[in-house]
C-alpha cells in the first residue's frame, strides 16, 4: 500500500498527526471517494489520468556520472551490474529471458548467457522454492514473480522456508543471497489481480526484508542493496512508475542503505510517512496543505517496510508531538502525539474492476485526512 501514509502533527496548536502506515491486507493506494471532488469533469478523463504526478529527485552527485533512465531501465542496470560483478548471480522467472513483461531484463540473456538468465514454467511456489535452494547452495538468486498478485502460492516458501532458514539451522545455513522482485501496486486498469500491494502480509515476518522504492535512483540503489544483503529480500517495484518515472540515474553501481527512512521534506506540524508511488501523491498533498491550510508537513519515505527505521520516524515524531501507528512506534511515541494516527489507504474490499478510481487514496483523500486531523 503505497497509500498508507502516516501523518503526524506537531506544534503548539493541537493538530492531529495523521498516520497511514500499517497497511491492511488489501489496501492499495486507497481509492478516494472524494469528499472534495477534484476539478476533473468527465469520468472518462478521470479514468485516463494518473492519480499523481511523478516528481523526480535532484540529480545525485555522489555516485558519479548519471544518465536519463526510467524505472525499468534502472532495474535492468542494477541487474546488469550484479551479473557482471558476481559470477554466481542468476536471474529467473516467468518470461524474463526475452526481457520480461515490463522490460526489466532486456538484453541480459544475450549479454550473460542462457545459463544465467532463464525462464521458469508457470509455478510461483516452484520458483521461490527453487530460488531458496539455489541461494542455500551459494548462488546469488534473483527470482522474479511476474506480478505481486501472484506471490501467494509462494507465500509458504517465503514465510516458512526462506525467512526461517538461518534461524532454524542455528546459522549453519541461510538463503541470504535470495532476492525476490515483483511488480507491485495499482496501475489504473489492473483490477483484482494485477494491482495488489501485498507488503502487509510480509510486514510481520521476521527473517525477510521488504523494500519498496519510490523512483529510479532509489530503485537501482535499493535493489543493489537487497542483492548484496545477506538476508532474503522482497523487492516490490511500483509498476505504474516503470515508464512514468524518469530521472538522472548514476551509471555506476551504488547502494542505498536498507532500513533507513529518508526525510524528503522537513516540516513542523504534520508528519507524513509513506512509500512507493504514494510519496508522489503526498508531495502534492504537502503543498496543498501548506497553501490551503497553512500546515507545514514533513514527508518521510520509509523505503524499507521490514525492518523499518523506527528511529527516524520516532525521532521526527518525538520532536514534534506526533503519534506513530505501528505497535512498536505507538509505545514510543504515544504521548507525543496530539491526535490518533490516521491511515489513508484503500477500502477494505478486493481491488475493484470498475471502481478503481474511487478506491485509490489519491491526494484529495489524503488532504482531507490532514484537514480532519488538524481539527481533531
Amino acid at each position: 500500500m503505497a497509500a498508507a501514509a502516516r501523518f503526524f502533527v506537531r506544534g503548539a496548536r493541537s493538530k492531529l498527526p495523521i498516520s497511514g502506515v500499517v497497511p491492511g491486507p488489501r489496501s492499495s493506494f486507497a481509492a478516494a471517494l472524494l469528499k472534495l471532488s477534484p476539478g476533473s469533469s468527465s469520468r472518462t478523463q478521470r479514468r485516463h489520468a494518473a492519480h499523481f504526478t511523478f516528481q523526480a529527485d535532484p540529480e545525485p552527485t555522489q555516485y558519479g556520472p548519471t544518465t536519463k533512465m526510467n524505472m525499468f531501465q534502472s532495474v535492468t542496470s542494477a541487474l546488469d551490474h550484479t551479473l557482471a560483478s558476481d559470477p554466481t548471480a542468476v536471474i529467473f522467472g516467468e518470461d524474463v529471458a526475452f526481457g520480461g513483461v515490463f522490460r526489466c531484463t532486456v538484453g541480459l540473456r544475450d549479454k550473460y548467457g542462457k545459463d544465467r538468465v532463464f525462464n521458469t514454467p508457470l509455478c510461483e511456489q516452484g520458483i521461490v522454492g527453487f530460488g531458496i535452494g539455489a541461494a542455500v547452495a551459494g548462488a546469488t538468486a534473483i527470482a522474479e514473480i511476474q506480478f505481486a498478485d501472484y506471490i501467494y502460492p509462494a507465500f509458504d516458501q517465503i514465510v516458512n522456508e526462506a525467512a526461517k532458514y538461518r534461524y532454524r539451522s542455528g546459522n549453519l545455513f541461510d538463503c541470504g543471497s535470495l532476492t525476490i522482485r515483483a511488480p507491485w501496486g495499482c496501475v489504473g486498469h489492473g483490477s483484482l489481480y494485477h494491482s495488489q500491494s501485498p507488503e502487509a502480509f510480509f510486514a510481520h515476518c521476521p527473517g525477510i526484508k521488504v523494500v519498496i522504492p519510490r523512483s529510479p535512483v532509489q530503485a537501482k540503489g535499493l535493489l543493489l542493496s537487497c542483492i548484496a544483503d545477506q538476508n532474503p529480500c522482497i523487492f516490490f517495484e511500483p509498476k505504474i512508475l516503470y515508464r512514468a518515472a524518469v530521472e538522472q540515474v548514476p551509471v555506476e553501481s551504488y547502494t542505498i542503505p536498507l532500513s533507513q527512512a529518508e526525510v524528503l521534506q522537513e516540516g513542523s506540524d504534520v508528519t507524513l510517512v509513506a512509500w512507493g508511488t504514494q510519496i508522489h501523491v503526498l508531495r502534492e498533498v504537502a503543498n496543498m496543505a501548506q497553501e490551503k491550510l497553512g500546515v507545514s508537513c514533513e514527508l518521510i519515505d520509509l523505503q524499507t517496510i521490514l525492518p523499518w527505521d523506527v528511529e527516524t520516524v520516532c525521532k521526527h515524531s518525538a520532536n514534534n508531538e506526533y503519534l506513530c501507528s505501528s505497535f512498536s512506534l505507538q509505545e514510543q511515541c504515544f504521548l507525543n502525539l496530539e491526535a490518533p494516527i490516521s491511515r489513508v489507504c484503500g477500502y477494505d474490499t478486493p481491488f475493484p474492476h470498475i471502481f478503481e478510481p474511487f478506491y485509490i487514496p489519491d491526494k484529495w483523500k489524503c488532504f482531507d485526512a490532514i484537514k480532519k486531523m488538524i481539527n481533531y
Partner: protein, 409 residues
C-alpha cells in the same frame, strides 16, 4: 432443469432464424440430452437438405484406456446449424470486444477466445446444462455456452450494471448458473473444479464437473494435487487442458518437460483431441462424460487448439510466433470454416442460409455492443457490497478513520 425446459430455455434465448419464421419448427436442443436419447430431429420442410450425415473424424490418442471415442459420428442439420451459430456468435463477440478495447471502451485485461470456439461449443454439446464447468480467464466463450447472453457479457466487459457480474468482475470474472468463472490466478480453478465434482458425487445427482486450464497452467503444482485427489476418490471430474501451444509468450516446448498433456495425469486415463473440430471435441467429451458418470473416476482431455489473438489485448501475438503460422492455422484448421465446409459439401445447408445466420449474429452483437456502451455504470454505493455475507448492513473501513462505507449482502 428437465430436458424439455432445457429446450425451451435455449430456444427462447435465441433469435429465431428469419428463414424459419413462417414455419413451425421444433428446434433440437443445442445441449443434446444425455439420457441416451438421440437428438430431437426437427420437422424441417426443406426437402432439399440432408437431415443428417455421418462424418469421419480424427482418432484421439489414448492414455491408459482400452478404447477411444468413435471416429464415425453423426451430425444432424440442426445440430450443425446450432454449432455454427454459436461458434460464429463467439467469434464475432470476441472480435467486437477487440474493437471496443482498442477504442478504450473496454479497459483492463481482455483475453480473447477466437480460434478456440470449437472447444467451448464441442464440450457443451457433450454435457448438459446441469453439469458444472469452471475455466480460467479466457472465459467469454464459456460464459456464452453456459447460458450467458451476449448483452450481459459485453456489459460486463465494459463494467456496467447490466453486466453478468453487475459490472464488478470484468473480463476475467464472469459467472452464470453452473459456471464457476472466470478465474484470474492461473491454475487455481482446478482444485475448485474437483471440489464441485465431489459435491456431485456426494449428492448423487449424476452430474459431473469439467475443469479447464491451459498449457501454461499445466505446470502448476495444484493441478497435480488435484489429479491425486480426484483419482483417489474417483470423482466425476473431467480435466481439460486447452493446449493452444503458447502459455502467454512461451511455447510448450520451452515450458514443459512433457508436452503430452493428456498423459500428465499419469494414473488418470487421458485423450488427446483435435480441438479445432467441434465434432471431435463433442465425441471425446461424451466419451469422457460416460466414463465419469459410470463411476470410473476422473478423465483427462487435451484439446489441441489455437488462438488467433495474442495472450491478451496487450500482446500483439507475433513476437513469439510468426504471422505465417497464424495464417496457416486460419486457412487450414479454422473451426468455423471446417464446419461450414462439412455442411455445404454434404448438402446440409446452403450458402445463403449460413449467410443469414452471419447477418443475424452480427446484428445481435451490434445490439449488445450498443447496450454495453450505453448502460450506466454500477452506482458507487455498490463498491463495498458483497464482501462478506451479513444479515445487517456492515460498516466497512474507509480510506481514512473518519469515513466508513456500507456493505450490503
Amino acid at each position: 432443469m428437465s430436458g424439455l425446459s432445457q429446450v425451451l430455455h435455449y430456444s427462447l434465448s435465441l433469435k429465431p432464424l428469419t428463414v424459419y419464421q413462417n414455419k413451425k419448427l421444433k428446434i433440437s436442443p443445442f445441449f443434446s440430452p444425455r439420457q441416451g436419447a438421440a437428438a430431437v430431429v426437427s420437422a424441417r420442410t426443406y426437402a432439399d437438405f440432408t437431415t443428417q450425415a455421418t462424418f469421419e473424424i480424427k482418432k484421439c490418442d489414448i492414455h491408459k484406456l482400452d478404447e477411444a471415442p468413435a471416429t464415425q459420428v453423426v451430425m444432424t442439420r440442426d445440430e450443425g446449424l446450432k454449432y455454427y451459430r454459436v461458434m460464429q456468435t463467439i467469434r464475432r463477440m470476441e472480435l467486437k470486444a477487440d474493437q471496443l478495447y482498442k477504442q478504450k471502451i473496454i479497459r483492463g485485461f481482455c483475453h480473447l477466445y477466437d480460434g478456440q470456439e470449437a472447444c467451448a461449443v464441442g464440450i457443451e454439446a457433450g454435457i448438459n446444462l446441469t453439469d458444472h464447468l469452471i475455466t480460467a480467464y479466457r472465459a467469454h466463450g464459456y460464459t456464452y455456452t453456459r447460458g450467458g447472453t451476449v448483452k450481459e457479457i459485453m456489459a460486463e466487459l465494459t463494467g456496467r450494471r447490466g453486466g453478468i457480474a453487475k459490472g464488478k468482475g470484468g473480463s476475467m470474472h464472469m459467472y452464470t448458473k453452473n459456471f464457476y468463472g472466470g478465474n484470474g490466478i492461473v491454475g487455481a480453478q482446478v482444485p475448485l473444479g474437483a471440489g464441485v465434482a465431489l459435491a456431485c458425487q456426494y449428492q448423487g445427482n449424476n452430474e459431473l464437473s469439467v475443469s479447464l486450464y491451459g498449457d501454461g497452467a499445466a505446470n502448476q503444482g495444484q493441478i497435480f494435487e488435484t489429479y491425486n485427489m480426484a483419482a483417489l476418490w474417483k470423482l466425476p471430474a473431467i480435466f481439460i487442458c486447452e493446449n493452444n501451444r503458447y502459455g502467454m509468450g512461451t511455447s510448450v516446448e520451452r515450458s514443459a518437460a512433457s508436452t503430452d498433456y493428456y498423459k500428465r495425469g499419469d494414473y488418470i486415463p487421458g485423450l488427446r483431441v483435435d480441438g479445432m473440430d467441434v465434432l471431435c471435441v463433442r465425441e471425446a467429451t461424451k466419451f469422457a462424460a460416460d466414463h465419469c458418470r459410470s463411476g470410473k473416476g476422473p478423465m483427462l482431455m487435451e484439446l489441441q487448439t489455437y488462438r488467433y489473438h495474442g495472450h491478451s489485448m496487450s500482446d500483439p501475438g507475433v513476437s513469439y510466433r510468426t504471422r505465417e503460422e497464424i495464417q496457416e492455422v486460419r486457412g487450414k484448421s479454422d473451426p468455423i470454416s471446417l464446419l461450414k465446409d462439412r455442411m455445404l459439401s454434404n448438402n446440409m445447408a446452403s450458402v445463403e442460409e449460413l449467410k443469414e445466420i452471419d447477418v443475424s449474429v452480427r446484428k445481435e452483437i451490434e445490439d449488445a455492443a450498443q447496450f454495453a456502451t450505453t448502460d450506466p455504470e454500477p452506482p458507487l454505493e455498490e463498491l463495498c457490497n458483497h464482501i462478506f455475507y451479513n444479515d445487517a448492513d456492515l460498516e466497512v473501513r474507509g480510506t481514512n478513520p473518519w469515513t466508513t462505507l456500507k456493505s450490503v449482502s
